[in-house]
Structure formats: structure tokens, C-alpha cells
Symmetry: C2
Subunit: 357 residues, 2 copies
């Protein structure tokens, strides 16, 4: 199987002879502080939950998400990771013409191709520092009848982010569906940027969230989607398998969304490290650094002294893995992405980058 | 959502005011000894695995299943519970005409109806004690061209079981696919009854297994299917989501399939309790008890003194839940099913049944 989502640590570990835990993985965008201790302790103290079927209605989990996202519990659908929801939503609305903001996470295009949907890419450009003007986007939308507009907000890999007000403008200017992937939204100010509480009032909005990145739980497979459109929601639910969320994921979810100490500590350190890393990376010779609202930073090797692939391979013996962005449509072989890890790891990354570049 | 798979303890708990853990659940067919302690301890001591993506190739998990089932690792597909595999296999081979051994678990029919497959039911009959003669079945198969034959072995809810030799005879007499659901096979002698090692040599066989029942892990959602037909296997895999098995399930699986002490203890106690319960239930007034190779026993209230539904409701205040089998096509409102719990619980069940019947 070919994997294109950050590092496959299992494969790298067997190839390079390091244990998985030794790698500093700057490529997978996962919060380096691990997950909520409250949630982990609950699992440890209640491990026998593995012997019980999950609640088929996931009532407590949905209550917890509803509080966290400030939207109605009835508007929530649950997925085994955000991936299952992307796939399920696209299959359900079965669009014939989609506008895909690009560069973008590869799963959207993969799912659109499965249903033979025509795809128009709306590119953020490096010469604009990957900033998208909402009015330009809206005039493109108005020119054509798209059934679906896909926006990753903050954008992975560029880091650009629309405000909630701008998203509302976009919603008002289309009769199609707008799917917003908010996988990285918690690394920025959700009051300004998150669209979750718009789902109760906008029937053409679907907001997707995952817990893999901010809550550092890619292992449990817990994603959630928010949608006020009852017909579409019921249709998605009818296509999902019964018990698609395991009991560990359901219990951890109930707890971690309200673990304020975990949330504030993660945000505080990562935002301050983001400022630090953006500044320091900008001092590297021949490297352009793009602003980001996510927990990752897109960089371009303007000097063309080395490709991103070569840079990545040069770093691996130091147990550092970065993301070569050549596979993103709209970027080239000189773009790489790093995420924000712990302060000491970020400093090690900078040290080795300085040596190579 | 309407659930028809044993008890929804969450719903019953909120309806009757008992905590979920207080119920003796004789309806869900789960091994009452919980799961492998080795597997649970591993999770407790390595809880940080939740912060790591699963191995997309699940190499160690497949090795462990391969040893356990005595078949090639390359012939394994993994599902988020057996349910995902039933659904995925049926969608993939897309049969137009299926022979469904009945009465049967409701999921097969549900999935067949989704693809508008014509269904012929081959009923085991109470007057034959639900025993199926392989030669009669084979002559039915020979009369018509079925794309698919579905057999649950041991049969849920009747408890009847084909031997591996009989399954091999069936395989040789059809050009269609044979899907064998071996969810309950570990409660009987797998050397005699299991078909897992036939998959390496028979291209029209798909064996499905789950870990929910024998390994008492419905909460982790781990199922696996065995199929030697490469084209079908690749097609199933391409429809499954990336990372469909969470890291807890993958790690527990690696360990529990080789936990010989858990396996032998479960088999020893449950088989001896099965004999005991079959004998004791047979002494109840007006109740017919059917032989079983599973961890459950089908009973019929011949006296018609009370329906299975009424019996179930009468037992709930004693915190006992049994399965009313009226919803199984081919059974009527006087059939109920009980599974084998711990010795003390089985005796409590008998005590209350004796009072009511």
C-alpha cells in the first residue's frame, strides 16, 4: 500500500534500524505533548471497557462534542477518523462538479475520483504568499455551478486560514455544499476561525474534524462531522457501519474535549513555538517561510541548492523526518513542511537545517 | 437507530435504572471471562500508543493471525469488526443470487438487500433438530447457480455445525463463493470444524472471524477475513479505509491470539458449562433444548405457556437479559437463546427460569 500522509514510522523504522519512538516526526503534524492525561488514565483504570459493545447511539460522546463545538448534538455524525467522513460525505452527496482549493490533502481528490466527479482546482499561489482573497474566490464560485466546494481551514499545507465571517460569505454565495476540513483549527483562535457553530443555521455546510492531530490520538481513529442538513446526515449515517467508533475512542472523546488544562497547555506552547520557528527558519540561507495558522510551516528552498527530497533524506540519519511536499499539486520539489514539536526538538531541527542549508 | 444484535446495555441501563455492569447479559454471546490479561496489561503499560498512527500494513497483527489460523499472512484482510467485512465482501463480489442458510444473523440479509441480490433461504428445521444434511444442501446447490452461499458455522442461533470435511464437499460442488462466518468456531474443536486452512487452496472460500465473542473484545472492533482469491482480496482492500484498525485493536490482536492460557481456560470452562446448562435447561417444564457447538443454546417453549418476549421481560428485573429469537426468520415467538456465562451466573439463570416456567 502506498501511503502519502506523513511518515510511515513502521516502514522507516524497519528500513533505518531506529525504533519508531526514536524518530522526531516533523511530518505528521501531531501535537507533541501526547494526549489528555485524564483520558489516558480513564482507559487505564477502565480497561475492561474493551469487553463491552459501544453505545450504538454514542449519546455521551455526542454531548461532549456538542459542548466543545457549540452546536446541536443532533447535528453530529461520527467517523472512524476524519478519512471515513470525507469518503462518506462525498459518496452521499455524489457531486458532479467540485471546486477544490489547492494545494490540498490528497484524500479529497482520491474520493472525488472514485465517483468520477469533475474537479476544478482553485490554486493559492506562492507569489501571493498562498493568501486567498475571499472575493476572488466568490466570483469564481458565482461563474459556475459547483455542487461542492472543499476548503481545508487552516489549509494544509499552506497554513492560510479563512475567518468564520469569510466562510459565511462563501456559504451565502453558493447553492452547492461547502465542506470545511477543520483538522488544524484548534491550533488557532477558534472564536475567529472555526465554522462549527454555523452548521445549526446553514444547511449547505459540512464541517469535518479529527482528533488525530490536536488531541494526538491518530491511534484511536476518532473523527466527527457537523451538519445541519437532516437528509444528508441521515444518509451518511445509514452508510456507516454500526459501532464504527470503538469504546476506547468513545470514552477518550467524552473526556478529552473538556480537558481544559491539556487544551490550554498545548495551545500556549505550540503558538509560542510557532512564532519562534517561523522567525528562525526565516534566517536560513535561501529559504522562504510562509505564515501559518496551523501547527505546521510551509517552507520553500528558493536557492534550489537542494531538493526537499534530498533534504528529507539528509535529515533521517539524525532521526528527523520532514515532509517533502513535491506530491502536492501546485507545489514543486523545493517545498517542504515541518510541524511544531517540543521546544528541544524544534531546536535540534534548526541546528541540522542550518548545517545542511 | 434500531439495534437487533443482543442487548443494547446502554439503552436498558437508562430504561431500568441498573448500571450497565450490573446486568448478566445472556443475550450477546460474549465470553464472560473478559479478554486476555496479557493483552490488557500491554495496553495499560503502553497507553501512549494512542498517539501513533497504526501500521498501514498491519504486519505484526497479520503474522499473529496467520499463526493462529494456520493460513498464509498474505490471505488476510482486516475489518473494523466482522460487520465491516460482511458488508465489504458482499459489495465486492456483488452476487445476483445467494443461498442463505437460515435462520441467520440479520446482517447478511441486510447487506444482500442493499445490493438488490435475490435471496433464497435454505432453512434448518426444528423438526430435524436444526441439523442440516450436507448431501441435501449440496443437491439444492447443484440445482441452481448461486453466486454465493452464506454459512454461519457454528450456526447462530441454532448451534448446528458443519465439519471441515463437509465444508470441503460443499466447496467442490459449487462454482460460486462460499462465505463462512466462524464467529463462534473457537467454542468448539477447530481442528474438526474450522475451515481457515482451506483458504490457501480454495479460491472460492471466504472465512470471516471476529474477536468480539471468543476474545471478549466487542469494544475494540477487530475482525479478520481469510481469502486466497487475490483479485477479490485486493478489491476488498481497496474499498476499506486506510487505518481501519485502531492501534489498541492491532496491539491486543498481536498478543491475544497467542495467549494459550486465556484460550484454554475459556474453552475448558465454557464447554463444561455448556454440557451442564444443556442438561439443566432440558429439565425445565415444556422447554425443548437444541444441541449446540457454540457458546449459546437455543431453546423452544413448547408448552407455549409464555412467549420468549414475556420471558425476557420477566427476567430483566432480576438483571438477567436473554435473547428473544422471534426476529429470526424461521423461528417463532416461543424461541429464546441464552449464552454461557460464569458458573454462578448460569445457576442464577436456571433458578429464575425454574421459577417462571
Amino acid at each position: 500500500m502506498s501511503i502519502n500522509h506523513g511518515a510511515n514510522l513502521y516502514g522507516l523504522s524497519s528500513k533505518y534500524g531506529f525504533s519508531k519512538d526514536e524518530f522526531m516526526d516533523f511530518s505528521s503534524n501531531i501535537n507533541p505533548f501526547g494526549t489528555s492525561n485524564l483520558a489516558k488514565e480513564y482507559v487505564i483504570n477502565n480497561i475492561d471497557m474493551v469487553s463491552m459493545y459501544p453505545d450504538p447511539d454514542y449519546i455521551n460522546l455526542k454531548k461532549s462534542i456538542s459542548n466543545y463545538c457549540k452546536c446541536l448534538a443532533e447535528n453530529i455524525v461520527l467517523g472512524s477518523g476524519a478519512t471515513e467522513l470525507i469518503s462518506s460525505f462525498i459518496k452521499t452527496i455524489n457531486p458532479s462538479k467540485t471546486l477544490l482549493l489547492s494545494p490540498a490533502y490528497s484524500e479529497y481528490e482520491k474520493e472525488l475520483k472514485k465517483i468520477n466527479c469533475s474537479i476544478t482546482k482553485y490554486f493559492a499561489r506562492s507569489e501571493d504568499d498562498f493568501i486567498i482573497e475571499p472575493n476572488e474566490l466568490i466570483s469564481t464560485i458565482n461563474k459556475d455551478n459547483y455542487d461542492l466546494i472543499i476548503i481545508c481551514n487552516p489549509s494544509n499545507p499552506t497554513g492560510f486560514t479563512f475567518s468564520k465571517t469569510q466562510i459565511e460569505d462563501i456559504l451565502k454565495n453558493t447553492t452547492g455544499f461547502v465542506m470545511i476540513d477543520e483538522t488544524y483549527i484548534e491550533f488557532t483562535d477558534t472564536d475567529i476561525y472555526s465554522s462549527t457553530n454555523l452548521v445549526d443555521s446553514h444547511k449547505n455546510l459540512f464541517v469535518i474534524r479529527g482528533t488525530s492531530k490536536f488531541f494526538s490520538t491518530p491511534g484511536i481513529r476518532l473523527g466527527y462531522g457537523l451538519i445541519g442538513n437532516e437528509d444528508i446526515r441521515e444518509s451518511i449515517n445509514s452508510n456507516l457501519d454500526l459501532w464504527n467508533i470503538n469504546t476506547i475512542a468513545a470514552s477518550m472523546g467524552e473526556i478529552m474535549f473538556s480537558d481544559k488544562s491539556f487544551i490550554s497547555h498545548s495551545v500556549d506552547v505550540i503558538l509560542s513555538e510557532r512564532d519562534f520557528l517561523i522567525n528562525e527558519l526565516s534566517t536560513l540561507n535561501g529559504v522562504k517561510v510562509y505564515q501559518s495558522n496551523g501547527n505546521f510551516i510551509l517552507c520553500e528552498i528558493k536557492s534550489k541548492k537542494i531538493t526537499a527530497k534530498e533534504l528529507r533524506e539528509n535529515l533521517i540519519p539524525n532521526k528527523i523526518i520532514i515532509r517533502d511536499c513535491a506530491s502536492f499539486d501546485g507545489l514543486d520539489e523545493y517545498f517542504f513542511r515541518v510541524c511544531i514539536l517540543k521546544p528541544s526538538e524544534n531546536r535540534l531541527l534548526l541546528k541540522h537545517l542550518k548545517e545542511i542549508l
